[in-house]
């Protein structure tokens, strides 16, 4: 199934999600509000997206953008699910109930970005030691141990 067929399929099944769907670089993206993220994810799961491939975040300045990569085995297609989380006290609902694969991936996002996941059963740091201060993948992360690479392109 290619990406246009996926859009038609999605619009047929869930017309209210249809205007949020866009296509860029050959990949579909569903941009939702973070309040409705869990429901949208549940809808997509019932649509046939049975694998949660990747959970990550991008530091967009004012916001963190949560990025979920969903894959459907029967449709042989993947797509993004995105939402924007505000920067102060960032938190969003955990998708662990839908896909257990989120267990470690959300821990990683929590560790490196500091985004909290409501309903996550085991939210601890995973990559860095427990006593680490800060969340290094944020763009404003400060650490005097980092030596900046000289700029020669």
């Amino acid at each position: 199934m290619n990406i246009d067929e996926l859009r038609d399929h999605l619009c047929g099944q869930y017309p209210d999600l249809c205007p949020l769907f866009s296509i860029e670089f050959g990949d579909g993206t569903l941009q939702v509000e973070c309040r409705g993220l869990y429901d949208a994810a549940a809808d997509l799961k019932s649509l046939g997206f049975d694998m949660l491939g990747m959970v990550t975040a991008v530091d967009r300045g004012e916001h963190f953008e949560m990025v979920y990569r969903l894959t459907s085995r029967e449709m042989s297609v993947g797509m993004f699910l995105k939402c924007l989380v505000p920067r102060d006290k960032p938190h969003t609902r955990s998708l662990y109930d839908l896909w257990p694969a989120a267990l470690w991936q959300e821990r990683e996002v929590y560790d490196l970005f500091g985004i909290e996941f409501d309903g996550h059963p085991d939210l601890r740091r995973i990559m860095l030691p427990e006593d680490w201060v800060g969340h290094p993948l944020r763009k404003d992360y400060q650490d005097e141990r980092i030596i900046k690479r000289p700029d020669y392109i």
Partner: protein, 381 residues
């Protein structure tokens, strides 16, 4: 940064008397953790009642480093991710960059990429089968399979001068064209390798002790495998028919005729044997690719070194030896990526350890870890 393990729990035994659990810390430097993983297991007798997998001992912050490198400079970093299969990380990253910057790769380059990727798959599976066997003390099989891997490494060395970190697949093609006579050596290797695989199959998978050790251990159901995001031989060993080469086909893979070996029971034996059978298929793909390989340029002519894709984000994935390896790049129009995220299959597979290890003995813990085939460079990144 404490190495202390948590307090031992008091539980009640079946006779009502208090019983203390034995808490055993495995790792981070243990002969069978395949790197620097650490598992804290709670034992009742020798049976694991709780396992906590702790990772991050090799977290080097590669994703942060990528943000201060140009697109081409990231390629050597991807070598260090999956150090048993460097070609995969190279290729997955390059595919994502090519998707972002709309680079069309010449056909010969795609064929070369397929050949090196399949050779890398054999090398990686040899390492995996061998080290999983070494965990059950079959050291000789490890040495035999490592010898097979060594042959591929020699061929790679001839190809790009490095034994482990190749930096060979670059955005827009591959770094160098094939050396003269290289394909003949590869064909010789695949012929000899099939015999070696037969030997290993008889020696380990036919051995009654090895079957007893592997069968019925770490059983992963098909639905669980999908829900936990397992991929590669771990998922296929559980009967999930999902191979990106076949089902979400990329590059020139649709042109080859090959099978995807599927396991039935989802135990450690099926996983290991799926890897072994995949090596046969890889041999066949290599032979077909060499036969079909066109002449032409091995990289895009006139490709500038400074790649500046327009703003946006792209994800691409390939089937690595451990599963679907994805790379997600966010570009902001500058010569450097804004954010690079590696979706590592070993990370997702390793999350299954606490689930799979419970109920088995301490001896089986190393089998569980070995059957998931973690490479900690990729797990921790």
């Amino acid at each position: 940064m404490s190495l202390q393990i948590e307090e031992q729990r008091q539980t009640e035994g079946p006779d009502g008397r208090p019983r203390q659990e034995l808490v055993v810390n495995v790792g981070p430097s243990h002969p069978s953790t395949h790197g620097v993983g650490r598992v804290v297991v709670h034992l009742d007798g020798e049976v694991i009642t709780k396992a906590d997998m702790i990772i991050g001992y090799l977290h080097r912050g590669i994703e942060k480093m990528c943000e201060n490198r140009t697109y081409l400079q990231v390629v050597p970093l991807t070598d260090r991710l999956d150090y048993v299969g460097s070609m995969y990380s190279n290729w997955a990253y390059c595919r994502a960059v090519e998707r972002l910057a709309a680079i069309r790769v010449p056909e010969r380059a795609e064929y070369i990429r397929v050949i090196v990727a399949e050779m890398q798959r054999i090398a990686s599976h040899m390492m995996s089968i061998g080290s999983a066997a070494a965990d059950t003390a079959a050291a000789t099989l490890f040495i035999y399979s490592f010898d097979e891997r060594e042959r591929i490494i020699e061929l790679f060395e001839e190809l790009c001068g490095a034994r482990l970190t190749y930096n060979y697949v670059r955005p827009g093609g591959v770094a160098f064209d094939l050396p003269e006579g290289w394909t003949d050596s590869v064909l010789e290797f695949t012929k000899a390798h099939r015999k070696a695989l037969d030997l290993m199959d008889r020696m380990y998978f036919g051995n009654v002790i090895a079957r007893g050790r592997l069968k019925g251990v770490a059983v992963l159901g098909r639905d669980d495998a999908v829900a936990w995001g397992a991929s590669g031989p771990v998922a296929r060993g559980s009967g999930v028919d999902w191979d990106l080469r076949k089902h979400d086909s990329y590059s020139v893979y649709p042109r080859f005729d090959f099978n995807v070996p599927i396991g039935e029971n989802g135990d450690a034996y099926d996983r290991a044997r799926t890897r072994l059978l995949e090596c046969y298929e890889s041999c066949s793909i290599i032979e077909q690719a060499i036969e079909q390989m066109p002449t032409g340029p091995h990289k895009v002519e006139g490709q500038p070194r400074l790649i500046m894709p327009r703003a946006g984000d792209a994800y691409d994935h390939i089937e690595s030896a451990r599963g679907s390896l994805g790379v997600y790049i966010v570009a902001d129009g500058s010569p450097r990526p804004y954010r690079v995220k590696f979706r590592s299959p070993a990370f997702c597979n390793l999350a299954l350890v606490p689930k799979l290890a419970v109920g088995h003995t301490l001896s089986d813990l190393v089998v569980v870890l070995g059957s998931l085939d973690p490479v900690f460079g990729e797990v921790d990144r």
